[in-house]
Amino acid sequence: MSAPLLQVRDLTLSLPDRSRSGMFRKPPMIDILRGISLDLPKGQLLGIVGESGSGKTSLGRAIVRLYQPTSGQILFDGTDITDLDEAAMRAHRKHMQMIFQDPQSSLNPRRRIGEIVAQPVLTLGVERDRRAALKRADLALDRAGLGHAFARRYPHELSGGQRQRVGIARAIATEPRLIVADEIVSGLDVSTQAQILALLNDLKQDMGLSLVFISHDLSVVRVLADRVMVMLGGRVVEEGNVADVFQGPRHAYTRQLIDAVPLPVIEPDWLDSQPGTEGTRMVDIKGQTVLVTGTSRGIGKVFVEALLAAGATKVYAATRNGDGAHADDRVVPVKLDVTSAAEIAAAAGTCADTTVLINNAGINFNSKLLDTDQVDAAAAEITTNYLGTLNMCRAFAPVIEGNGGGAIVNMASILARVNLPLMGSLCASKAAVYSMTQGIRAELASRGVAVFAVMPGAVDTDMTKDFPPPKAAPADIVAEVLVGMMAGEADIYPGDMAKGVSGGLAADRPAMIAEMAGYV
């Protein structure tokens, strides 16, 4: 296969949250897109689906550089266009066009259709001569199925479908190689929509166009796309061949999205069915009051930042000595040692508005089960990791329920699923946490509290200094946990290692255990 026309690498976009700006305070940045990567081969159509707030529109705009990405790379036909200035971009603009949802607002009512379509041809320097540009406009109008007779008309004389054809004609007039189309058939009648979809398909084949097709409508994407990308909360949840994703979605959120589309067939049980949730509810961080334990370092510290960026209203940052002071006034430091029953009870009183509890605090002695040289690692690990988490759940489940529901997230480890020879007592304590989490999930099932178990692999923190690579970055782990919560996955396996191990255990358990033993 030839090299992709468009490559996006680890694209991040943050925009200031204006609703939280003050006179002397810079508005905090809110993450719109987090680590998006995609490849679009020549002549293919990539569908991007997601609900409002998923970041799909922002991604489209970032690709054509209407938004400046915060980090990451955009390669167009092998050229890095991420940081090109507007003058340098002009050379590429004629090759990459965008079509918007509402053609009405992007068509100047005083101009004739021909001039509107010819305009990018002139401004992007495809033609210098006005006549030649108008000629290209005629051709584009013919291709868009309107006929060049429309060139003499004005926008208000056209129907919605015809206006969208003008939008398409304007985009193809410069003979681009890439078109980003954002919700261009929503709001059109079914009979008009079907015609526009057929037109796009023809253009793709005849002109060898590559398209990024953004839509909230899964069915429309199914008709057009070669590949599809499902987005949620600024991240890619699932990506793949369109037939594969729609027939066998791997991700709970994708399943739920597909199931929610009403097909025109009679299905008496459809309204009451809720597949994809498997006893867990989807939880969005936006607007939540979150308590995180163990925030003095490592993953806990990263959690605080990620929760703020995801729009949490308040974050209780618990540390053993209560010194979690933070520049953002949404962060409230809390002194909380999870091994102290008194401190847990006190925290449940002072943090009475908590809606999401993240049990992250844990310890790790890296010791074997049968050697007890210094302290009894097994007792200490069980006390903090298991009993600490359990006592937090006991204290906060009623608090969260009383606040109208929310979530509990228990950070276990992939070691909960497989016991490693050198750190047996840690693995046992994590397995206990995992088992306990499943039990709590069952007990809270009907009480509006979603319970998540997180099983990360090796994470690059102080605690794992002695651990051999590969180790995942804490920020990636945390971001995947938040997406998992939004998607309503009960057990979250963030990072490649965790996914690999979990998949391996499912496929061939003895082989996986043997491999893990070798890893240490």
Partner: protein, 288 residues
């Protein structure tokens, strides 16, 4: 059993003369969800607005009747109509963004009718509003009552609007594309809620939509419209079957489906549109 709403030969026209709804008849029984389906310009919203007496100034009713029980809604004096509206007939609008007044608290918008038309005291009305919010499964109903619309999500706002519509226990609700502006997962929740509420209260619903998928999931009977004329009317099972008329079937074939590949999609053949437009023209010539 006599229908709750019986529309007979309803004709709606521009003040200048052109017809928008051409002698449409349909009836909605108690406890029934009746779908009114069509593309833009088919006249579905005009029929709904005519029933509610909220047609724009430039549009008038030029014939027919709309019997609600024994009252013709099209002939009632304004005062009598106003006393029926709200108490007996309610509306769920399309856009939860503009359906609630941005300048008034949810409590004010939920209680004004209970207080002014049903004569409830402030406390009674608030208690009723709370109960309704619980019924439409809103968490923290106390808090929500004291909020302004912009502080709620789209799905929450639509739940509030549904609660308002059901607040006086009306016998007929007109739902005008109530889920078109919502995300697909929220749409499913709202459709479920409308059906639950409607079944629990035995309410008749006139459900206006352009989406055949939504129709298949919530309606008992359906009227399909094109250019202000009834193309087809019947039980949902018939409409969704091969027995349907060519236009309805063509509409189904033009609706993309995630479970079917691209080549299953066929635009509505132009001759079907043309034939229906010709019928409309003949109607206009016979009824200038």
């Amino acid at each position: 059993m006599s229908p709750i709403l019986d529309i007979h030969d309803l004709r709606v026209s521009l003040r200048r003369g052109a017809h928008l709804v051409r002698d449409v008849s349909l009836s909605v029984d108690a406890g029934e969800v009746h779908g009114l389906v069509g593309e833009s310009g088919a006249g579905k919203t005009m029929i709904a607005k005519a029933v509610l007496g909220i047609l724009p100034d430039a549009i008038r009713i030029s014939g027919g009747s709309a019997l609600f029980r024994s009252d013709d809604l099209l002939q009632l004096p304004p005062k009598r109509l106003r006393s029926l509206l709200g108490r007996e007939i309610a509306l769920i609008p399309q856009d939860p963004l503009t359906g609630l007044n941005p300048a008034r608290r949810i409590s004010a918008q939920m209680t004004d009718m209970l207080r002014h038309h049903l004569g409830q005291s402030r406390g009674e009305a608030r208690a009723n509003a709370l109960r309704l919010l619980q019924e439409v499964q809103i968490r923290d109903p106390e808090q929500v009552l004291d909020r302004y619309p912009h502080e709620l999500s789209g799905g929450m706002r639509q739940r509030v609007l549904i609660a308002i519509a059901f607040s006086a226990e009306p016998s007929l609700i007109v739902a005008d594309e109530p889920t078109t502006a919502l995300d697909v997962t929220v749409q499913k929740q709202i459709l479920r809620l409308i059906r639950q509420m409607q079944e629990r209260h035995g309410t008749a619903v006139l459900f206006v939509t352009h989406d055949l998928g939504v129709v298949a999931k919530v309606c008992h009977r359906v009227t399909v419209l094109h250019t202000g004329q009834v193309v087809e009317q019947g039980d949902i099972a018939d409409i969704m079957s091969a027995r349907a008329t060519p236009f309805t079937r063509a509409l189904m074939d033009a609706t993309p489906r995630y479970d079917q590949p691209a080549d299953a999609l066929h635009p509505v053949p132009e001759h079907i549109h043309q034939e229906l437009r010709a019928t409309a023209r003949r109607f206009d010539e016979a009824n200038p």
